[in-house]
């Protein structure tokens, strides 16, 4: 669109915006690119042969060392008992009163609380995976999304770049509370996207419930739990919808893909009252699960854009998965 000065500098200049542009240009940076390892060059023939010979020696030494180096793993520091290494396939138990700090390669740190048991499944440079069988962990991950995955008995927690707390009860139920960034809770194609300040529960055989604000009203949370896990049906949904505020819109957005026929229509109407759908998003389209329309509506919620996680994972919560 032209003639929108704030958008692209076109049209009639807005004096206030021009003033701010002048003032704030002081904050621009002109620093050059960082020093990076030198690019590959073409060495002389002599150097090439020397390099080839050196490569053979290094490869042989590497093969020998491979039989001697410990398997991939994570560094673990335990309160009062020093540090050690957790190898792939091994289990870490903290016990009553125990606590451990686990360094996840160079991408993050997990604090493990007492009475927790976890197993290391994979420890590669760009892919780290563990199973939390029971207990409580606090994860802080600063790598790109999907670098760190935690299996629980009832869902898989996928880090989308964030810090969060994850608990697993002895019956396999789980709860994730997100502090910064995003977590995705996934199982059998059913996904919940949980932003900072939100939480999501999961149950064995049912998978992830609907994410909600940690500060949502108790009545809202209870009704949502009933709807998700206790076959609360229409009465529970009615309570959820009547308690929902503008800030709960992301919860209702998830429910658009989860309710049974008849329920989705009610969710649509309530959500439209809280956050009007943008142009091009129609009731019929949303109710049939039109992905673009749902994405466009999500982008109106003020929680960031759908685009980045779509590109990164290409997954989508299953439409019509009623309970």
């Amino acid at each position: 669109m032209r003639n929108d000065y704030l958008w692209d500098g076109s049209g009639e200049p807005d004096p206030e915006v021009q003033r701010l542009e002048r003032l704030l240009s002081e904050f621009r940076s002109y620093r050059p690119a960082p020093e990076l390892p030198a690019a590959n060059r073409y060495p002389s023939a002599r150097l090439r042969w020397t390099a080839i010979a050196a490569t053979v020696v290094v490869a042989a030494a590497g093969a020998w060392l491979a039989t001697r180096t410990p398997p991939e793993g994570w560094q673990v520091a335990r309160a009062g008992s020093g540090s050690g290494r957790l190898a792939v396939g091994e289990t870490l138990e903290t016990g009553a009163g125990g606590h451990a700090t686990v360094k996840i390669g160079d991408i993050g740190v997990v604090e493990v609380e007492p009475n927790s048991r976890l197993r290391l499944i994979r420890a590669r440079r760009n892919e780290h995976r563990m199973a939390l069988e029971v207990g409580l962990i606090h994860a802080r991950i600063w790598a790109p999304p999907r670098s760190f995955v935690v299996d629980t008995p009832s869902a898989v927690a996928v880090d989308l770049g964030c810090s969060y707390t994850l608990a697993v009860a002895t019956d396999g139920a789980g709860l994730v509370k997100v502090t910064t960034g995003w977590v995705s809770f996934e199982r059998d194609g059913r996904e919940s996207f949980i932003p900072a300040g939100a939480a999501c529960q999961t149950r064995p055989n049912l998978g992830p419930g609907t994410p909600y604000r940690q500060e949502a009203s108790p009545a809202f949370r209870q009704a949502l739990q009933d709807f998700d896990f206790a076959r609360g049906g229409d009465p529970a949904l009615t309570a959820v919808l009547s308690e929902a505020t503008r800030q709960d819109a992301f919860t209702l957005w998830h429910l658009l893909m989860r309710g049974e026929p008849g329920q989705k229509e009610r969710v649509y109407d309530t959500l439209a009252g809280l956050v009007p759908p943008p142009a091009g998003v129609t009731r019929a389209g949303v109710l049939r699960g039109d992905r673009k329309m749902l994405d466009d509506w999500w982008d109106q919620l003020g929680l960031g854009d759908t685009t980045w996680w779509r590109h990164l994972e290409g997954k989508w919560p299953e439409s019509g998965a009623g309970r």
Binding site: W7, D8, L24, F27, A39, N126, W142, W308, H311
Partner: protein
Amino acid sequence: MDTTFALSADFGTNPSVSASPVVSISDDAELARAARHGNRAAFGRLYDRYSRMVHGILLARVPRSEVDDLVQDVFVLALRQLSALRDDGAFGGWLAMIARNRAYDYHRRSREWIELPENLPAADRRTPEALAVMEAIRKLPESYREPLILRLVEGMTGEEIAARTGMTAASVRVNLHRGMKQLRQKLDCEGRS
């Protein structure tokens, strides 16, 4: 079941707006692919294209004195992690996410440090007026802060912001306009008081 847990983003009429052409995502994909295979020149081109975006994202979140160093960190980290990027066409959105995560990580690591006030007289060569406007922007919600800084500080157009960060143009437009409205209100209030 009662489960209880113990839990405690021809512009010739205005020289301050980016004159760079609209981003070609396919070019970026080519550059990302080449960079992944060790082509440092390709990575340098990506730096040229994206350093303003990364700078703006960080400026919206961390103290100004830390921003330049963190920009460098973000690109070094991106280079190391490039093999994890599944869709080269999504490079911009992926890099933006790394920058946001680096900002979160900065705050996590510096929790125990006391931050110096940003407006110490000798600490900054910027004009008091510019500092005041920047502080007003930094008090806006995050979803408005980032596009406003990319537009007003980095000189990117709305279209460029959308293309580089992977956000939709509609979303950037809404956030720019809502953010600008809130910024005007804040500046008006401060001007009166």
